[in-house]
Structure formats: C-alpha cells, structure tokens
Subunit: 709 residues, 2 copies
Amino acid sequence: MAPSTTSAKGTSHEQNPLDLLLPDLPKGPLSVYREKSSFCWKELALFLDGEDVILFKKTIFTALENDPLFAHHSDGDLSLERQRELTFLRCKRIMEYDFLTMDETMDQPLKLLMLFNCLAMYDMSLVVKYLLNCQVFTNTVASTGSERHSKFVEQVKTMEIFGCFALTELSHGSDAKHMRTTATYKEDTKEFILNSPDFEAAKCWVGNMGRTATHAVVYAQLYTPDGKCHGLHAFVVQIRDPKTLMSMPGVMVGDMGWKLGLNGLDNGFVMFHNVRIPKENLLNQTGDVTPTGNYTSSFKDPKQRFGASLGALASGRVSITSVVVCNLKLAISIAIRFSATRRQFGPTDDEEIPVLEYQMQQWRLIPYLAAAYALDHFSKSLFLNYIEFHVCLLFKDKSARQAELGREIHALSCASKPLASWTAQHGAQECREACGGHGFLAMNRLGEIRNDNDPNCTYEGDNNVLLQQTSNYLLSWVTAKHEDKAPIESPLGSVNFLERFDDILGHRFPASTVKDCMDSSVALAAYQWLVCYLLRESYKKLQKEKQNGSSDFEARNNSQVYHCRTLALAYIECTVLQRYHEFIQDSSTPSNLQPVLKRLCALYGLWSLSKHMVVLYQGGYCVGEQPGRVIQNTILDLCAELKDDAVALVDVIVPPDFILNSPIARADGELYKNLWTTMLQGSKVLERPSWWTHFCANKPIIGSLRPKL
Amino acid sequence: MAPSTTSAKGTSHEQNPLDLLLPDLPKGPLSVYREKSSFCWKELALFLDGEDVILFKKTIFTALENDPLFAHHSDGDLSLERQRELTFLRCKRIMEYDFLTMDETMDQPLKLLMLFNCLAMYDMSLVVKYLLNCQVFTNTVASTGSERHSKFVEQVKTMEIFGCFALTELSHGSDAKHMRTTATYKEDTKEFILNSPDFEAAKCWVGNMGRTATHAVVYAQLYTPDGKCHGLHAFVVQIRDPKTLMSMPGVMVGDMGWKLGLNGLDNGFVMFHNVRIPKENLLNQTGDVTPTGNYTSSFKDPKQRFGASLGALASGRVSITSVVVCNLKLAISIAIRFSATRRQFGPTDDEEIPVLEYQMQQWRLIPYLAAAYALDHFSKSLFLNYIEFHVCLLFKDKSARQAELGREIHALSCASKPLASWTAQHGAQECREACGGHGFLAMNRLGEIRNDNDPNCTYEGDNNVLLQQTSNYLLSWVTAKHEDKAPIESPLGSVNFLERFDDILGHRFPASTVKDCMDSSVALAAYQWLVCYLLRESYKKLQKEKQNGSSDFEARNNSQVYHCRTLALAYIECTVLQRYHEFIQDSSTPSNLQPVLKRLCALYGLWSLSKHMVVLYQGGYCVGEQPGRVIQNTILDLCAELKDDAVALVDVIVPPDFILNSPIARADGELYKNLWTTMLQGSKVLERPSWWTHFCANKPIIGSLRPKL
C-alpha cells in the first residue's frame, strides 16, 4: 500500500493512529469518489474488523505478497499438472507460515474464519485444498472416530500424511444412503475388506484425491461376517504410500481432469479391489464391530446413526457461506472501481461521465455491494453460532437446547450456502457483464472468480436439494405447533416470529412513500409476512397432495417449486436481513456510520424482497400499483444515494492490489494504464505466431475438399 | 450414427425412407423415454428442417467428424498459441470444404445460417473467426465501400489476405462516436495518415487481429488538410505483411491474451504511428475526399451518415441471435439426456428414478427446451427478414417501406440478441448446475458452452445498451401517433397491435383454469397488454423526468430500469411468442405434431411471462391469488406433460455425438460408461504426479516461517 499522503500535515507523531493501521490509498482517478463519500472508510473498517483482525489480515496478505511462491502467473498457459503442483506447494507453505496456532484459534475463533477468507481471496483452490486436508479430513476423523484415531490427526498436522473425504460415488451424490462401496469384516485377520462393486460405485469428486492424498475417509456399507449390512460407516483408508505417492495394492486411484474452475484442486476417483484395512480404521463413534464380528452401536435407530455420522458436514456449509462472500466481495470491488473510472457518453458531446453515474449501472451493481455487506455479517455470526455449538459438542452437551441449536444451525446453513453461493454466482456474472469486454479478459479475474465460485453451488450438498432440509425444518414447527401446542421458539430465535403467525398474516404492506421504505424494518416486516404465507401455503400444498393420494415422497417432490423452495430462501433472506438490521440499529454502531449502513441494509432488504413481489401480490400483502412502485423507486433512490459511497465501501472490504489481482481495479484507479501495461507484459504478445507459415504458405484451394452430396 | 435397428422388419427396401435420412438412435437407457414420446422425432425434424437441410447438416457434420484436424483434444492443456493455431487451420479447412457456394447461398439463403449454426455447434471460436473474416470484414467493405474496394473481398475469398473489423478502442466501446483514432489526408502523397493519439485510443478487442489478420477495417476520425474533422469513417488498413505476418511499419499490433472463453479466437489490439495508407482505402459509400483534400458526402446530416456507416452491424446481431440459440440447444440437450439417465432417490429404498421425473428438475430445464424451440424459429425468421431487407438494399431500394423495414429489423435485432444471449447464458448455467458435479467437469462441455456464449452478451453492442435502441423505436411510434395520428403499422407487423393500445389496456387476465392457460393465446394476450402498459409507463416516466427539469440525456438514463429496459424485453418476447404461436397454429403444421408444439409454445410464453408477473399485478391486469397460481400451475403441468417428450425433442435438435462432445449426453444414454471411459482416457490419469518428491521429501516445519506480528 502507498504511504499516507493526505492526512499527515506535519511530522509522523502527529499522524492519526488509524493511518498507520490503514494507510491512505493512492491518489488518482478514484479520489473524486473517495472525497465525496459520506463516511471515513477507515472508521468503518475498524468498526467491522477491529484492530487485531486488521493486523492479522495484513500479516497474511503481506506474507503472500512477499513470497515468490505466491507470485501470480501472468501467463495463463499453466498446465493442469503445474496448477496442482503450485497449489500443493502453497498449501505446504501455509503450514510453514502457521498464521494461527491452535491456542490463538481457541482464543479468537473468528480469526480462523478470517484465515480461510484471506486465503480464499488469494485463491479458492488453495483454501479448499487446505480445508479438505486440515479441517474436513481431521474434523471427520476426530468427530466420528475415537481416541484410537488421533494419530491420523497428528500426522496430518505435520504432513506425514495428506487427507481427503470420500463420500460421493460416480452414480450417487445427493443420495448418500445409496452408496455401494462395501467394507466387510474378516474375523480371521481382524480387517475390513473394501470393495467397489463396479465402476459406477467408484468414489469420485474427492478433492485432494487426484494427486496428493495418502489417506481417505471412505464411506462404505459395513457388512459383518454374518452377511448383514449395517449401513453407511466411515473408514480411514490408506490409498497411497506416503514414501512414494504410489497407490496401495488394490487401489485404483486417479485424477478427474480439468473442471470449469478450481483447477488447482485435484479432484480424484478411487476403486477398491479387496483392499484390506485394520479393524481399528473404522471410525467408531456411532457403531463398532467386536473382534469376533458382532456389530454394536450406541444408536438404536439406524436413521439417527446415519444422521449423526453425516453431522460433520455442517461445518463445511458454514465455511462455504463465508468464502463465497469473499468471491462476491472481489467481484463487486472490481466492478465498482471499474465503473467509477470507466467513462462513456455524457450530457454533452465533450463531457464523458463515469458509468457508475448511470442509474442502470447502479441498479446492476450496488445491490450486490449491499448483499456483500449483509451476507458478510451473517456469515460471521453463523460461524460464531457454529463455534458455540461445536464447543458444547466437545463438552458432550446433551441438553435439549444443544439438540435444538444443532437443528437450527443445520437449517440455517442448508439455506445460507445456497443463498450466498447463488448471490455470488449471479453477482460475479453481472459484474463481468457490467465491465463489458474488459470484464471478459481473463487477467481482470472476473471469470476466475465466477468459475471458482461455481462448484460451491454443488458440493457439500446441491443447493436445491439442501433447501429441502430448511423447509422441512420450518414445516416441522407447524406440525409441532398443531400437535403439541408448544410455543415456537428456537435457540437463535430465527423462527420465533412464527409464533405470531396469524397476526402477521393479517398485516398489509405499510409503506406509502419512498421515505417510509428507506427504513429496513419495512422490508423485514414484509419478509416475516412472506415466510408465514409461504409456510402456510407449503403446508396446505403438502396436505392437498397427500389428500389426493400422493405418497410422502411424491407429495414432497411436488411441493418444492413455488412453495418449499421459495419458503427456504425467504426464511434465510429474512434471517440475514434481521441480523443485519439488528446489528446496524445496535447502540454500539457508531452514529456517523449508521446512515450509510442503514442504506445498505434497506437496499439489501428491498432488493431481495423484490424477487418475491409476485407472492406479496398473490397473497394480498400488496395491492394495486403503489406498493410495487414504491419499492422500485426506493431501490433506485438508495442506489443513487449510495453511489458516491460505493468506492469507499469497496475500500473497506477489498483486499490489497496484489491479492485482488485485477488490473482494471487497482486502488490507484489507473484503469487504462494498468490494463495496457499488463496486456503488454504477456508472453510473446507482439510476436508473429510461431505457425505463421500456415497462413503465408500453403494457401487453401477453395472447394478442393468439397464433399459430394 | 448407429444403423437402424428398430424399424427394419425385413429387407432394406421395406425401410421407411425417413430411416435412411435420419437413422434410428442406438438403443440404451434413453430408449424408455423415446418410446414414451407422443410424436415421432424424425417427423418433427423433417418438418422443421426439410430433407435438403438435413442432408446439408449431415454433410458438414460428417466431414468434420472424418477429418483428423477436427479431432477433439481430450487433453485440456492446449496452450493459447496452439488453440489459436488450431482454429486458424480449421478456418482454412472450412474454406477448402466450401460447403456452400455463392450460387447455392443465393438459391437458399437459409443454408448460410445453417452453415454458421453447424460450425457454432462444433466450436464457437471457429465460427466467429470465420464470420469476422468472411462476413463482417467483407460485408463492411462491400457495403460501406465501392467498386474500388472489391479486390479486398476477392483476396479474402482466396485467403491472400485475412480481415478483421476494428471499431472499439481501449477506452471506448459502446460510445462509438468518441473514438479517437485519426486519419488525416495528405494532399501531396494522396494518402491518409493514421494515428492513435495515445494508448487509450488503441483499437482493441478486435477478433482475428491478435495473430492472423493482415487487413483491418479501421474506424477513425477523418481530418482534411484544412484541419477539419468530418467524423468517424471506415478505412481498410494493412496491418501485417501477408508474406511474413510481420507487422507493417508504424503498426504496433498484438494479442490480448486469455479470455473467459472463445480462446480459439485471437482478439487483438493495434496502435498506429503515422501509418500511411492510399487515399483509395477510405470506404467511401457515405463520404469521400477529393485528391485536393475536399470532403464530399452524399449525406447532409452527419448523424445520418454516422448511422449509415454503422448499419453493417445489424447482420452481426441477426447471426448472433442464431448462434447463441445453438449454445442453448447444446446445453439443454446435455442436461436433458443426463437427467433422463441419472437416477437418484426414489419412492422406495430399492427403486431409484431418473432425476427428470422430479418436478423441480423439470421446472429448471424444460422451459429452456421450449425456449430453444421458440427462439430457434424466431432466429430463422429474423434471418429471412434480414435477407429480404439486404436484397432490397443491393437493388438500391429507396422506398419508405424499405426504410421502415430497416428500422424494424434494427429494433428487433437490438433486442433479440440480448434476449437470446441471456437466455442461453442463464440456461447454460442452469444446465451445468442441474447436472451436479458431472456438469462441472470440463469434458462434459457445459462450461465451454457457457464461457463461449458469454461474450455474445457484450460484443456487437452491450445487451443493456442495445435494448435502448428497441425502446426508442417503440417510443417513436407513440410520438408519431400523437403528432401525426398515423396508424401504427410496420412492415413485419411486430408493432401493429399497438394500434389497439387503449382497447388492450382495458383487458384483464382472462384465464381462470389451467386448461384455459394451456392455449398460448393467453400468454400472447398478456404480453400485448404488458407491452402496451410498459410503453405507456415508459412514455409517462420520460415526460415526468423532463417536466422535472431533466435533460433528454438524464431523462433517458433515469427511465431505463423498470421501464424502457423491461419494455424492450417484453416486446421481443412478445414477438418471439407471436411468431411461434402463428407458426404452430398454421394449417401446414402436421396435426400429429401440433400437440407437442403447442405445449412448447404455451410453456415458453407463460414461463417468460412469469418474470413479468409483478408488472401484471401492478398494472391491474392480474388481481388476487388466482392468476398467479393458475400460471404457475400451468407451467408445472406443461413441464410434466412434456417430460416424456423431452428426450425426443432433444433428439430433433441435438447434433451427432461427435459434435455434441459430451460423454454424459451421448445418444446411447450410457452415461456412466461414457463418462468413466473418457475420464480414464485422460493423460497420466493414474500416474503419481511428476512432483511427488515435494510431498515425500522436504516435509514442512510447521511455523518455521511464522511472521512476527
């Protein structure tokens, strides 16, 4: 970052301490907007992150920038092999940096999330590779195994082994119960024998398995010697020799090849042919086998056992909710800085104005900026909820509250991952289009952001399938209410308003002016009505389906579109809005920052709500031209009010230039200089092609190959 | 394609002639759906294309499949240089094939579009490279130049030279008038001197310029020796020596590098430093310079001249409308075949059903199948409209009808390109997600389709900017009506219903049951109301803005969102629907094909309309719960009715396996066999990584590089 140039009037001891923590950004074409902003970006950054986290982020970003291993490759010709090698080396280097010790994590858990976010902003492949090994593999072993498995966790920490998580098979993804890999216990050798019945049961899509993993948590159907199947269980299976990285006997393991994005991560497949593993490698938290081959379990209900063994996946969705917001932050930062410096047309032939001045451009982009702020706040708060839950889990909390907390976090994360990943996906696409041709140039990174974000819509549960978990949770409250007359009240309070169900459904859209609508409580009230209405309609729809003779399976399938799916999305949007609304209204929020934050909150609320307007009209919450028009006008007015703050709002959330890595969006705002220079730095840009003789000699003879019809 | 296996009962002379033209598809997992379809796919294919076009397409596809130069590269590691080389070689080979002579084109112009479409289905980079050289460059020279420039057209035909079209500059795209490249006439040498004032005025994004073009049509501000600027004119500029492909003196030309897609096409930039070209290279249709340096023009109004010189761009939008539909066809074909063979969950634990059986999957995909059919019909009909216009242009038709036809085609193509490219873009993304992880694997091609489609949203006019042309056209009819009381009537009739404006605005949503809604006339009537309503609201909004003191520029900018932009989209969707509706109702449409086509038409209409439901409610066309619910239920019912026809509908529009190039979507339906085989055919899939020692030796020392805070 450039040294402070604006605030220091005299000697350094007179400097504002904030300028040391967050130096001024370089002067340039963006300064016009920075000077017009209604607030001080440094104050907002300090308020949101705190000094400690700001310094922590700076430490990480600076280390990466100064380490040649993390240098960006201007040449896009990296082979798949080389991309995977680089990501592995960087992953190893991150372990050497050890930015956050276990003690520090315990002390300030949020820093763990910040570490993931910093790495995600640098490269999604890196953070996913790192997480799969250091978090997903080890957490699964720790939470579904027992003391006898702690060695695997220790070995990962020193990279003696490298882990991966193998659940999905070639022919089964969402439908985990139908996995067909088998693990059969052999009494004589006290081993499990793993087999893939055929290639359709090959484990696949396993991150880290393609090239690097030596050990996998493998989900397989457990068979005892009596031939009985006890359902899906997790096993630690050594798939490669850590001394040579050659595959183990009976293990056919390989790399799945190029993907649409995230190519630094080696997704792989594996087939097992009579692979023997010690009995001890069964992760035995939910069930075990005696040496003589009898199955024992602490769970009586196989369904409950299955659910518990998959519980480890929840943390994945919480982390994903956060890292996809990083993608949204990167994309919107690029598009806003571009739009503030790209000039096109103007009121007169001589005057050209920044494209950010156009209402259309504001409407396309600024809501995504608001979404980045609201979702960022939500993802942090959800992470802290999860940490609370996780800590209680470690302390073996078996209270009803803990169980309810688990259900609520499950419901929230099963909807927040879809909401956040889709918002980032659509946002990245809109940002790329809003930057025109320059947005289509790979070096400006919008494509990488979009492509690396894309798999988040699928892994750790397909978005549309996951949403069913959330709507099932909400519907279960209605059933409970009907049956037990119990009050609707959840540990985090996300469903508490449903207790006022009948009252809320009697409400009508209250705002008649844009000014009314500027208060985010208007959008919030509309959302609460929306969730109640969709919940009632979904419930009715399910009942009707069943009355018409549908099985539970059919009834559920035929109640997703326009009902349960929308319900789950409305509920999570409502929760995100509610939390952001409360955060901003809170007395601890500095009053000079409140105006801009309130606008962001109202904009996020109304913009999200506007996608549900039909339902508001269908259900009679809105009637006539007025409500729709007021909401639309408020959205446009909020965009206009925020456009002079947009650059400063980006300055708060954007990483340093090196991490952002987009010539059209550097902090100095020198759009064309940076773009032009980077273009010319490419390899052999000005040379004639090596294959020039194809053109200059051997001219085609037109029609010489014309096929006869 | 596989030989006929189902229909031939006896000897070959008993075979249905249709089976020779369109052989049966191989039996396999897709057969179940094929047998359930309500119509014969061969009959529909024959009805839509005709025997001649079917044979023409087959000739092209077969030639490509049999030519090793067109072999697919299973290894995705192709360098940028190699991708560009391959595309060039294939472009050259297409000229040797000369699938369509000039005479044949004259005879059956639609075949030209079919040629583009076939090439687009194989590879978008190839067709764009081919079009830019053989169509855009030559058509621009022919239509904006004169006899003296025909040599350039001839030289392109034999590949003595290679052409490109250079309008966009680094700092100006949409705003063409502000281009800053200059061409100054020098009387003494009878030359123009071209200069780029600085790098911000470098021409950029020019397809074919990066590596191959020898000649460019360059748009520059024409200066006469008296120092007067006469506005933007087009010049043919030699940028490379055809003998060596080395750049010409004073020409700095280079390649822009990797893009998000379309990497077979070499987009380039150029800067001119006192580059001298002969006076004759001015394309002088609209203006010329005498040897002594006096400017002469057949146009008096510089605005009119400018418009005329850019008129050549219209054909680009017409072609794009068609090739993006190819992308949609490819994507939806892959997703439907996948969904018909991918089984997941089921009513019982033992029974798994194809994901196409789920209402959610139907709702996500089948509307895009309907859109592919409706937009395909529209794109062909628009192309034929354009040909009519173009032929009259060649015959110097200066009638009022010809002028009106030009305006209407301009308005239609300025909205059809955005509609079709966005539909393909969103459709490709939905298809990729609907195929889960396997949709994210590069080899299955959904990423390539999406990425190669993407630039269509930007080039030949940014979608959002283009839509303004269409809304301006519609608004001009209102002004004309107010001022001249002239009837609203256009050559193609797309605006004729506006004549019944007041009457239509008095209509209300007429359907009360799903059965009513199944008739596409319901959606069509709603669309006509929608266009009238949005036109009135847009007009009022513009008036209001002006009354409040906004300049024309501001008023227009502040009337796009929720008004003019939506108006333009509603108008083009209405037109697409209208044309498809008429086509299907036509007595020449075989009665046995009508049921399925009517469903497609109704689904496309209602699904498109459902995005505008808020407006229908706001404007009072719909009131209460019923209309919205009926439309939603009809969409779901139509999807359910079409799901057994979906595979057969794909068989009609999908190219052969070799062209489709997606293992999860081959005609034999052997999803897993084809996917697994292709995965194993990758390079070094089962080998340990070349960099295995990075893991096995040199273990990281955790924290050894820990930064001090």
